[in-house]
Each structure stands twice: as structure tokens, then as C-alpha cells.
């Protein structure tokens, strides 16, 4: 498989898996407005994933459809970051996960506007507008929870402490990226790190929260080594295609 195909899958899988995670909250949100907000965000993410898988299907050139790629791979073939597959937990956990991801994605799509690959630049242009809105939503909630009651503060701090180990993986790069960066197609993730740290620190301070001092990092998702949670997501995501192969709506 070529590098571009692998690269698109990484972006697409992040969107799909987080979209699937958030859609678990449909009908289970803490209040109806948040139920609707989180499922709206899920819909945007799944929409972005659709554009990406459709492009991957063309680039892959094996006659697979976007649905084949989204639904018919094994766990080790999914290359999303570990952050997005973490369980929803309480509302603090859901918001903290979303906030880390949105903070990264706003910078990522903004940089991808400059990609020499026209389709990736077009997807970034479309997705950036949506992602800014998600980021505003998750940032405002992070501050409201962090600077809220003792309980909301403790819960969202616990979430930050737990999720922080997965944040570094958003900046993971290997040979898939290297070649594409030279061609001006991929985003050099290292170039986003300073802005990411500045943006996240600013919001954390407003939220009266702090990053854990323990700097332990966990990676693996980009090469298919996942936490136990992904398998559970896939068993639900892929149920229809496994139970009724090739079924269509």
C-alpha cells in the first residue's frame, strides 16, 4: 500500500472512531442540549471520515469502496490514535478527550490547507470550519468544569491526568509521513507542537487545571497496536456487516 493511502487512513480512522464513540452518547447525554451537541459533533466527524475514506478508496486503487475500508478491516488494521478510542467515561472525560483532539485538529486542518494534494486541502477547508466550532464548544466546557464546583474540577482534572499519556501520539510521525512531507502533501506535525502547547496551556490556566507531572507516554495506535477498547468499538461498528455480509441500506 502506498504512503498516501496509509496517511489518509490515519486521519480517517481518527474521525471515524471518535465519531463512533460520541454517537454512543445519543440518548445518553447528561442534558438534552449536550446530547444533541455531542451527536452533532459525531455527525461532522463521521462526515469528514466519509470524505476521507472515499478518497482513500480512489488512492488505494484495489476496487474497495469507502464502506469496505471503514467496516471490513481487522482491529490491527485500524490506525487511529489511542486517544480517540478511550471510553466516554463521565462528562469530564468526554469533554477532556474532545478538547485534546479538537485543539490538535484545528491546527492540523489549518496546516493541511497548504497541502499540495488538492483533495486533502479541500477536505481540510471543509472540516476546519466545523472543527473550530467543536473546539470552541469543548474549550468552553473545559473551563466551565475546571473552574466550576469542587466536584467538576476534580473530575475533569482526573480525566486530564488519565488522557494526558495519549496526547503525544497526536504528533507521532514515521516513514509514512516523511516522504509525503517532502512532497508537500503531509503536515509536518512537529511544526504544530509549539502552537498546540501554547493553546492548550492557555485554556488549562483559564480552567484552573494542571497537566500531570508524570510524563509517561503511550503510543501504538498509528501502527495498529491498540488499547483493549478498540475491539469493543469495532464489534458494534461492524456488527451489521459481519452479521449480514454485503448488506446495504
Amino acid at each position: 500500500m502506498n504512503s498516501l493511502y496509509k496517511y489518509i487512513l490515519r486521519i480517517a480512522d481518527d474521525s471515524l472512531i471518535l465519531g463512533q464513540r460520541l454517537s454512543e452518547l445519543c440518548g445518553h447525554g447528561p442534558i438534552i442540549e449536550e446530547d444533541i451537541a455531542l451527536t452533532n459533533i459525531a455527525l461532522d466527524l463521521i462526515g469528514q471520515a466519509t470524505s476521507l475514506y472515499e478518497y482513500a478508496a480512489i488512492v488505494g486503487g484495489e476496487g474497495k469502496t469507502a464502506d469496505d475500508i471503514a467496516f471490513l478491516r481487522f482491529e490491527r488494521e485500524y490506525v487511529n490514535v489511542l486517544l480517540v478510542e478511550q471510553p466516554n467515561g463521565d462528562f469530564g472525560m468526554t469533554i477532556a478527550r474532545q478538547w485534546f483532539f479538537d485543539s490538535f485538529r484545528v491546527l492540523f486542518y489549518d496546516a493541511m490547507l497548504e497541502s499540495t494534494d488538492q483533495q486533502l486541502a479541500a477536505i481540510a477547508e471543509k472540516s476546519l470550519k466545523e472543527t473550530k466550532y467543536h473546539w470552541k464548544h469543548s474549550s468552553e466546557w473545559l473551563v466551565r468544569l475546571g473552574d466550576g464546583t469542587d466536584e467538576s474540577h476534580d473530575r475533569v482534572q482526573t480525566a486530564i491526568n488519565y488522557l494526558h499519556r495519549y496526547v503525544d501520539e497526536l504528533f507521532f510521525m514515521d516513514e509514512v509521513d516523511t516522504a509525503l512531507i517532502t512532497e508537500g502533501i503531509a503536515v509536518d506535525l512537529a511544526s504544530l507542537k509549539v502552537a498546540f502547547d501554547a493553546k492548550t496551556s492557555e485554556v488549562m490556566e483559564m480552567a484552573t487545571l494542571s497537566f500531570p507531572t508524570n510524563n509517561w507516554k503511550q503510543v501504538g495506535g498509528r501502527v495498529g497496536k491498540h488499547t483493549e477498547h478498540l475491539g469493543h468499538i469495532l464489534s458494534e461498528l461492524q456488527y451489521m456487516q459481519r452479521a449480514y455480509p454485503n448488506m446495504e441500506w
Binding site: N40, L43, D44, G47, V106, A122, K126, K129, K132, Y133
Partner: protein, 160 residues
């Protein structure tokens, strides 16, 4: 005689399935109409990436034009990305009459904790309204309530 201008007027009769008061032309999602060798190619763009209405709209265009004996194909484009600036004035008026507040010029979405946009109530025109939720019943709407007449209403949020 079929020409591009005629096709544009036909497309004004194809409505958005979520907000039937708006045509797809009012909504600004029809980007181009090209006529060559009696075949029509229509380019549309989604409002939001996950908009579930796109397939439906594509089919509605093909079927509506088929009734007029016009064979059309529909192409989807992502760039330039849709913005509420493309909503026609006519479309904004129709939204207001339907009870949905049309988009107001908003500051950049990425500004955190900016003062919320003042959205006049589409029912009593009061500017004393408040945002209930940044998200609403469809991707393109937010949820507001009027403090004067107390009516809750949808706001067609600004996307730039």
C-alpha cells in the same frame, strides 16, 4: 429550448428536505450548472460534511429534471467550502418567515468566550434573546430562546 438559465429556475423548485421552505438555490449549495450535448452536469456542495441530506438532494435533482425530460448528473465538490454568505437574501427572508432566525455576521468561531451574537427573535423581532445551545436539531442550527415573547427558536448559525 433548454438552457442553463432555465435549469437554474427549475432548481429553485427543488427544496431542502430539512428546511422545505428553502430551495437548494436559496441555500447556496448549487455551485454550477453546465450544459453540453444535451447533458446537464450540476455541481453541488454540502453545508456540513456529515449532512445526511446530500444523497437525497442529489436524487431529487435528477428526478425533478427527468420529469422535464432533462438528463442530469450531479457532482459533489468540497472546495470552496460552503458558507452562509451564499444564502440568498430571498432565502434569509423565507427562513425568518418560517420561524428560523437567519445567520448574523459573527466573529471568528475560534475566539473563545466572545460575547454571544445578538440574534433577533424571528417571531417578535426583539433583540433580547439568549443562546440555549450552540447545537440544534440539524448541523446548521443552534438553539435560542426569546426573553421577550419566551418562544424558543432555531438560529441558522453563521458559517464562514
Amino acid at each position: 429550448m433548454v438552457n442553463e438559465a432555465l435549469i437554474w429556475t427549475y432548481l429553485e423548485e427543488v427544496s431542502d428536505p430539512e428546511i422545505p421552505v428553502l430551495s437548494i438555490v436559496d441555500l447556496g449549495i448549487v455551485r454550477s450548472v453546465k450544459l453540453a450535448n444535451e447533458k446537464v452536469e450540476i455541481t453541488i456542495t454540502p453545508t456540513y460534511s456529515g449532512c445526511p441530506a446530500m444523497k437525497h438532494i442529489e436524487q431529487a435533482i435528477i428526478e425533478f429534471l427527468a420529469e422535464k425530460n432533462i438528463q442530469a448528473s450531479v457532482v459533489l465538490t468540497l472546495s470552496p467550502a460552503w458558507t452562509t454568505d451564499w444564502l440568498t437574501e430571498n432565502g434569509k427572508n423565507k427562513l425568518r418567515e418560517y420561524g428560523i432566525a437567519p445567520p448574523e455576521n459573527e466573529v471568528d468561531k475560534s475566539v473563545l468566550f466572545a460575547a454571544p451574537t445578538i440574534v433577533p427573535c424571528p417571531l417578535c423581532a426583539s433583540k433580547d434573546t439568549r443562546m440555549i445551545s450552540q447545537f440544534g436539531s440539524t448541523a446548521c442550527k443552534a438553539h435560542y430562546q426569546c426573553n421577550a415573547c419566551m418562544e424558543p427558536f432555531d438560529y441558522f448559525k453563521c458559517l464562514k
